[in-house]
Structures are given as C-alpha cells and as structure tokens.
C-alpha cells in the first residue's frame, strides 16, 4: 500500500500559491471541500482561478474567497445563488467563464483520463461556441471542448482509506470523483478516514492512484441551501 495521508489541512495545502488554478468539487453547497476552502481563506492566496460548478453563497463555500477578493476568475455553470458574485461580475472585477454543466463535468473527466479534447453538441449556435472548432458528426454540429489544466483539485469524499481509495455519498458525489487526478495535485478531505482493508474494494468509487493527499476533515457544517420538507 502507498500511504497518501497527511496530518492536517495545513500539510494538505502545502505548495498552494497565488495565481494558481484550482478545481473544487461540490454542487451548490453539497459535497464542497469545506476544510480546504477555509484553509485557502486563511492562507489568503490571491488571483486564483477556480473551476467549480457553483460559486457558493455569500457567506459559505467559495463565497468566502469571493468576499476577500481572492478569486480572479471563476469557471462555472451556474452562479445564481450569490449576490456578491453577481456584483463583482457585473462590475467587471471578476472574470467569469460560464460553460454548460455537462461540458464542465466532461472537461474534468478528460483531464483525469488523458484526453486532450472532445466534441459535444452542448452550446452549438450559442455564445459558448464562439471561437471554438465546429465539426459535424452524422450531420449534427458539435463544438470542440478541451480538457481543463489545473494545479490543485480539492475534493470532498464521504469515506476514504490511507491508500486514497474513496467512497462518496448521495448527491454529494457530483463533480468530486471527476476532479480526482484531473489536476497536478489532488487533495481529498473525508468525513471518515479508515485503515486499508476497511473499505470493500468492490464499492470503491475512486482508486487511490488518482489521489496525492488525503486527510480527515473536521467540523463539517454541511449547510443546506434550500431545506424543503413535506
């Protein structure tokens, strides 16, 4: 077994610098790497580019980095829940690239899997297609999209073992598995870190080869954006 554990979030984020590109898992606030985000706020890294489906809310998730003006550019599919984000974007302080959600997922997966580019019908004929190669397959136009290039991926899993094998829970899975191994360094925080052998290999979602550093996070708030009950 190759041990991927680090002692804490400080060690996990060793090497993070101004101007880097980060990938962050999560859909809304579900499955976001809370501990890594807090550490990024604490380290006050500046001018970063963040690839994340959403941008958090005003006072949680990536909203915390936005508030401190640490983010230079956001690459997301939907940013509707964050007033500070909208203000920074409309005033031009923040560079924003909005891309279709399936394309965002696939650009992560392409980076993870060593595929430099792919074709998708999503966004053809819209501003998303501007400047991109268009090619017909079976008479239908597709646009070429490229794999992401990133320095760090920050991922949240439910359980992991010391070898970096991961299991996700519910819809907190979302983009997290796709970002593992999609950046130069993949940092994973888990709710429960276990010894090798304690996870059934049949139920591992992501093998440890895609993970460089793993640690057990603490004080998970797991905030709910829209608590809706019967």
């Amino acid at each position: 077994m190759i041990n991927k554990t680090v002692n804490n979030v400080t060690e996990a984020l060793e090497g993070v610098q101004d101007g880097m590109t980060f990938m962050l898992g999560g859909f809304g606030l579900s499955g976001i790497p809370e501990n890594s985000i807090k550490e990024l706020v604490k380290r006050n890294v500046k001018d970063v580019t963040c690839i994340s489906n959403n941008a958090g809310v005003d006072d949680f998730g990536l909203g915390l980095l936005l508030k401190k003006r640490q983010i230079k550019k956001m690459i997301s599919s939907y940013v509707g829940e964050n007033a500070e984000f909208e203000r920074q974007m409309l005033s031009g302080e923040l560079d924003v690239e909005l891309i279709p959600q399936g394309t965002l997922a696939e650009r992560c997966r392409a980076a993870q899997n060593g595929i430099p580019a792919f074709y998708t019908p999503a966004g053809y004929g819209t501003e998303v297609a501007e400047g991109k190669e268009v090619r017909d397959f079976d008479g239908k136009p597709h646009i070429m999209e490229k794999a992401f290039v990133a320095d760090f991926a920050f991922v949240k899993a439910w359980k992991g073992d010391e070898a970096g094998n991961l299991i996700f829970k519910g819809t907190a899975r979302n983009f997290n598995p796709l970002m593992c191994g999609a950046a130069k360094v993949t940092v994973v925080e888990v709710e429960e870190l276990v010894k090798p052998g304690e996870l059934d290999p049949n139920f591992v979602h992501i093998p440890g080869i895609f993970v460089q550093r793993i640690f057990q996070g603490d004080a998970y708030e797991k905030r709910i954006e829209k608590r809706t009950t019967q």
Partner: protein, 217 residues
Amino acid sequence: MLDKNGIAKRIAQEVQDGYYVNLGIGIPTLVANYVRNDIELEFQSENGILGMGPFPKEEEVDADLINAGKQTITALPGASFFDSSMSFGMIRGQHVDLTILGAMEVAQNGNIANWKIPGKMVKGMGGAMDLVGSAKNIIVAMMHTNKAGDSKLLKACSLPLTGVECVTKIVTNMAVLDIVDKKFRLLERAPGVSIEEIKKATEGDLIIEGDIPEMSI
C-alpha cells in the same frame, strides 16, 4: 387561464409509462406532483440521482441528498447515485426520454433562450445547454407573456440563445403548442381562453387549423 400548477398538471399528461424524466427548476419541478400513479417512471436530477422521491420529512433531511434546484429530496427504492459526467452521459446519450424546462423566450424555429439577460441577470446555463443540445423530446413550461405583458413566443429570440431548433412542444398558461415548419401550431386552449387572446399574446407566426379544443385538466 392557468396558473403555474395548472401548467404542471397539463404537462404531467405527457409523461408516459416507462419514461425517465428530467425536470428543470421552477414550473417543471411541480410536474412531479401531478403524474398519474398507475405508471412506472423515474425522475432524473442532473446533480446525480435517478429515482428521485418527494421532499423529505423533517427528520429525514440529508445535506448529501438534494436536487438540481438545491432542495432537499429523498431517494425512492430502486434509486441510484452517480457522478456529473455519467449524469450528462444519460442526457447527451439520449437515454432520458423527456426533458421539461423553463424559458424566457422561445422562437418559432425552436430556438430557446433561458440563461442570461445581458448586463442585468447572469445566472448561468447550468445543465440547460446540454439538455437542449441532445434531448429528443423537450417540452417548455412557461408563462405565455413576461411580466411586462410581452409575448415570450417570438419570431426570433432577442436574448442570448441556450440552444438552436430544439424545442418541440410548449405548454403555457394560455395554450399548448408545438413547432411545425418553423411556426407555432396551436393544439389546445387553456380553459376560458379564446383563440383571439392567444393570437394577441403570440408574436410569432401561429398555425390554427380546425377546431382548437380546450385542455382537459
């Protein structure tokens, strides 16, 4: 004239036995409340669940179980979870049978705009471009006119497009229409709504053939 729930009720009639259905945010979400209970179907939410169930009871609420609108949900027996790539694989690969989504504008050639008002509102397209780029069966659920009273069924969209020539059917508070030969074809009227009223509220070209029945809901 229908309200939002009325639109959802009418669209629910389009859901058939054995369908996998993706519901967008807003009016489409309401469709789940009105689907017949004697058919088998599964709701897909693009954040990674098939077999989405109703909202949870207070004690069942789980932060790790939400829908694409970020609302807490439940998973029905037979449900499955998956990552976002596989989720959009289901959509792009045309494994999902029916897509229901909202719109700001629909044009008579099937173009749709629903993600951006330049300089005013920029929320993003989420999964809408992937959905309209591939789905074979797309129903738009929306009000016939906007808050200013202007038609949302247009000759051409004025807002940035979400997809081109992809909408097949539209259900509004006034009518059911489909798109034929790059025109809106009127199929049904909402209860109490006249053809004249629909004509007045529709900027795009309208095909009206024979008697137009009133919706039964």
